[in-house]
């Protein structure tokens, strides 16, 4: 079986890999010609731009925001004042509600930020309700997270006190 081994070395994968990839490219080209028929540049920019915008802008942006949040909240438990009172790293009490709130905004931003002038004329529905709903949901997420943090802190304190009593009989 010298031939396949040579192919492997030159191509970098099995012949099956090559066949499958070429098959998918042919299908993509068949559909792609039709996709690009109208506004070639516009569609190409949207298609490739969606990937680039996500990978090179959105993802770094939320990663940096998350790093900032970690720095702000002291990151991981284990510091001098912490004593494992918080089994959940404090950053998560900020991270989870912020993630939920921003996720909803990212999906529904055209309606929340009133970017759709045609909404009321087409549907006869009120376009002003979305921002209020999103803000209240956001308030709810942070309130719920605050309640969880309070509960965890109280639990941690009780445990620490019990630990002290046990240590000093």
């Amino acid at each position: 079986m010298k031939h396949p081994a040579g192919f492997l070395a030159r191509y970098g994968a099995s012949p099956l890999h090559l066949l499958l990839v070429l098959c998918s490219f042919a299908l993509a080209l068949y559909a792609g010609i039709r996709l690009l028929k109208g506004d070639l540049l516009g569609v190409a920019i949207w298609f490739v731009g969606a990937a680039l915008l996500h990978d090179l802008v959105l993802l770094p942006l939320y990663t940096l925001t998350d790093r900032a949040a970690q720095a702000l909240t002291g990151g991981r438990p284990g510091g001098a004042d912490d004593n494992r009172a918080h089994r959940v790293p404090p950053v998560n009490y900020l991270r989870v509600p912020a993630f939920l709130s921003l996720l909803l905004l990212a999906v529904w931003y055209p309606l929340i930020l009133r970017r759709v002038p045609g909404y009321r004329p087409a549907t006869a529905l009120d376009p002003d309700r979305f921002l209020g709903h999103w803000l209240l949901l956001t308030a709810g997420f942070f309130a719920l997270s605050a309640a969880c943090l309070l509960a965890a802190t109280a639990r941690g304190r009780r445990k620490a006190e019990r630990g002290r009593h046990a240590a000093k009989p």
């Binding site: 994968a13 998918s24 068949y30 792609g32 949207w46 990978d55 990151g75 309606l111 949901l137």
Partner: protein, 388 residues
């Protein structure tokens, strides 16, 4: 997602007539098309509700997936072999395609038409570009997925908190950090966060497809509120004013023309009302994913209208024309199986009242399981046996 999308395209009966086909250049991509059935009447409500709601609910999964593999984007050297080069190109189609489909879909249901072209063209052909790359990716990665799943037990992952979370051992996938920072979230925590995102999106969206009492729970979805109260107080896709209907178009001078082979008859609204009336409980379901529970429509059966122009027994397809000016769906062709269903009506009334102008007064089509835009409103001409 792909299957429900293909079903939605089939539901328009695009192979029947040019006016039904939003992507006439489809070529072989329409190989699977079939006659869209009329039963159950909630079929399109179900398939399209799933398509749109599931598409939104899966967004956090897509984002988490892309987040988990981002180190691969910056792998060095950027191209190791011809196979690697081809695979990276394929991944551009995969990632670009997935995001393109999500973005065009999410914008379209919010009526935010900023994408470069017709939604139907972009979303349909975009899906085909995506699915090839997706299938190849799944086939090529199945062994690795199986290895990864075998390497750990779900129970162990679910029982490990942040303090106990340790990094993956360094391997050749290029996904493990060589100098990992201490974990700030456990694996189960990361899974729970994605799940919470899915759940949040589901909670503020699904109500617009379920309808009834649940509609009010769709706090951020475009059709999470009712436009009014009373018999006509249910969802509207496009109002009369929005598609340029003038009062004179649907006033006392309005006439319905019914044509058959070699025959034609013109009816006033009063004459239509004197024909035998039938009531059918049918939903309205939109390609945008929202739908309503059953409404009680009353009007003249399409088969009875066909009989007026001498077509008895098995009526053929019918070309339906509206008085509306412009817009993509001013006319449509219904297939013979749709015409022959006893619940297919030219409706004059809904829930016991005359149709409101926004719901198609004086007369509109209502066919079970038909996409909303093919239930033509403000109908002025029916031509049996014609396809445009």
């Amino acid at each position: 997602m792909f299957v429900t999308g293909l079903l939605s395209y089939a539901a328009y009966n695009p192979d029947l007539a040019a006016v039904n086909d939003q992507t006439p250049d489809k070529g072989w991509l329409g190989f699977y098309l079939f006659s869209w059935p009329t039963s159950p009447s909630w079929l399109y409500r179900l398939t399209q509700g799933i398509h749109v709601t599931l598409g939104i609910v899966l967004i956090p999964v897509l984002l988490a997936k892309l987040w988990s593999v981002i180190p691969k984007l910056f792998s060095w050297p950027p191209v190791r072999s011809p196979a690697h080069a081809l695979e990276r190109l394929s991944l551009l189609l995969l990632v670009g395609g997935a995001l393109f489909e999500v973005v065009t879909g999410v914008l379209n249901i919010q009526l935010h038409y900023i994408f470069p072209g017709s939604f139907y063209t972009l979303h349909y052909y975009g899906a085909w570009v995506f699915i090839g790359a997706f299938a190849v990716h799944v086939v090529l990665r199945i062994p690795r997925v199986a290895r990864a799943l075998r390497s750990r037990r779900l129970r162990t992952v679910l029982c490990t908190d942040t303090a106990g979370t340790v990094p993956e051992p360094l391997d050749d996938t290029g996904l493990v950090s060589p100098r990992p920072a201490p974990a700030t979230v456990s694996r189960r925590g990361a899974l729970a966060m994605v799940g919470a995102g899915c759940l949040a999106l589901f909670a503020v969206t699904a109500g617009q497809s379920i309808g009834g009492w649940w509609r009010r729970t769709a706090l951020l979805a475009p059709h999470g509120q009712e436009p009014g109260t009373g018999p006509n107080g249910f969802q509207i896709n496009k109002t009369a004013a929005d598609v340029g209907i003038r009062p004179a178009d649907i006033g006392p001078d309005w006439r319905l023309t019914v044509r058959g082979p070699g025959r034609e008859t013109v009816l006033t609204l009063d004459q239509l009302r004197r024909l035998p009336q039938t009531t059918a409980a049918l939903p309205i379901a939109c390609v945008e994913g929202w739908s309503t529970t059953d409404q009680d429509w009353t009007g003249v059966r399409l088969t009875d209208l066909a009989a007026l122009v001498g077509i008895d027994g098995s009526p053929p397809d019918v070309f339906v024309e509206s008085v509306q000016r412009g817009g993509s769906f001013g006319s449509t062709v219904l297939r013979d199986n749709q015409v022959r269903d006893a619940r297919s009506l030219l409706a004059l009334r809904v829930n016991g009242a005359d149709l409101s102008p926004d719901h198609g007064h004086p007369a509109r089509i209502i066919v079970p399981a038909n996409p909303g835009v093919h239930n033509t409103k403000w109908v002025t001409r029916l031509t049996f046996g014609a396809t445009g």
